[in-house]
């Protein structure tokens, strides 16, 4: 009897990039949403909240805040305490992303 073995590795590799990439993109968007929800609204525009953006693609995403003064909000100034908004959002997302990527890997 002849047995033919067919490797699923190429298919898994393709799915891995697609599925994990999708989870990473959704995770970055959740971090952006969490940061926007946390950041204080200053008296005048432009507001940090309106400048938070997700950049990147495929398997690498970043949540960026281009405004120079955002770092002083996150880490504090000489005469103002920090109001962390981006790091807490990323920290909250960390276990969610780990669980979702583990779930993706489990079905491949």
């Amino acid at each position: 009897m002849a047995v033919t073995l067919k490797s699923r590795l190429p298919e898994i590799a393709r799915s891995l990039q697609l599925e994990v990439g999708r989870e990473l993109r959704e995770s970055a968007n959740r971090i952006k949403d969490g940061a926007e929800a946390r950041v204080n609204l200053g008296p005048e525009a432009p507001h940090i909240k309106d400048t938070i953006e997700v950049t990147g693609g495929a398997a690498r995403y970043a949540v960026e805040v281009p405004e120079y003064y955002a770092q002083f909000v996150e880490f504090g100034r000489k005469d103002a305490p920090p109001y962390p908004f981006l790091i807490p959002a990323a920290e909250e997302e960390r276990p969610i992303l780990e669980a979702r990527v583990a779930a993706v890997l489990g079905v491949l």
Binding site: Q71, F72, F75, G76, R77, K78, D79, A80, P81, P82, P84, I87, P88, E91, E92, P95
Partner: protein, 135 residues
């Protein structure tokens, strides 16, 4: 528990001459923001974030990130970097006695570096984000 962790960090930092000898005053360590009258160089510590990790029916541990930074008024980053290095030596992979709690880990996770200009003065911030895990 946050109070006890903060107190433990204060005690650790203010008890280390390698750090305090670089400050304007041995007690120039502040919670969240320095006093208006504070002299530089100084250290500011502040909790950045934290969450509980559950196991079955109770909390297994807490994981937190703390901002620990030096603030100096200088035209170069050297004095702030020196204090930051002393803080790093003191806190990275260090022990910490926390009232009613057990430290499971303490390490530096990333750098903080900022230049702030105000009224013609330069204020340089140098420090790190420290991961603290406690039961």
């Amino acid at each position: 528990m946050n109070k006890e962790i903060r107190q433990a960090l204060f005690a650790k930092i203010t008890g280390e001459p390698a750090v305090t000898s670089l400050l304007s005053d041995p007690n120039a360590v502040f919670d969240d923001v320095a006093d208006n009258e504070a002299e530089y160089p100084l250290v500011v510590i502040s909790k950045s974030s934290g969450r509980d990790v559950q196991a079955f029916t109770k909390r297994a541990f807490r994981t937190q990130l703390w901002i620990v930074k030096a603030v100096v008024t200088d035209t170069t980053s050297d004095p702030a970097d020196d204090i930051d290095a002393a803080l790093n030596t003191l806190l990275d992979r260090a022990s910490l006695t926390i009232t009613n709690s057990l430290l499971l880990g303490l390490w530096r996770e990333s750098d903080i570096g900022m230049l702030e200009e105000k009224n013609g003065e330069q204020y340089r911030h140098a420090g790190g984000l420290y991961r603290l895990i406690a039961q």
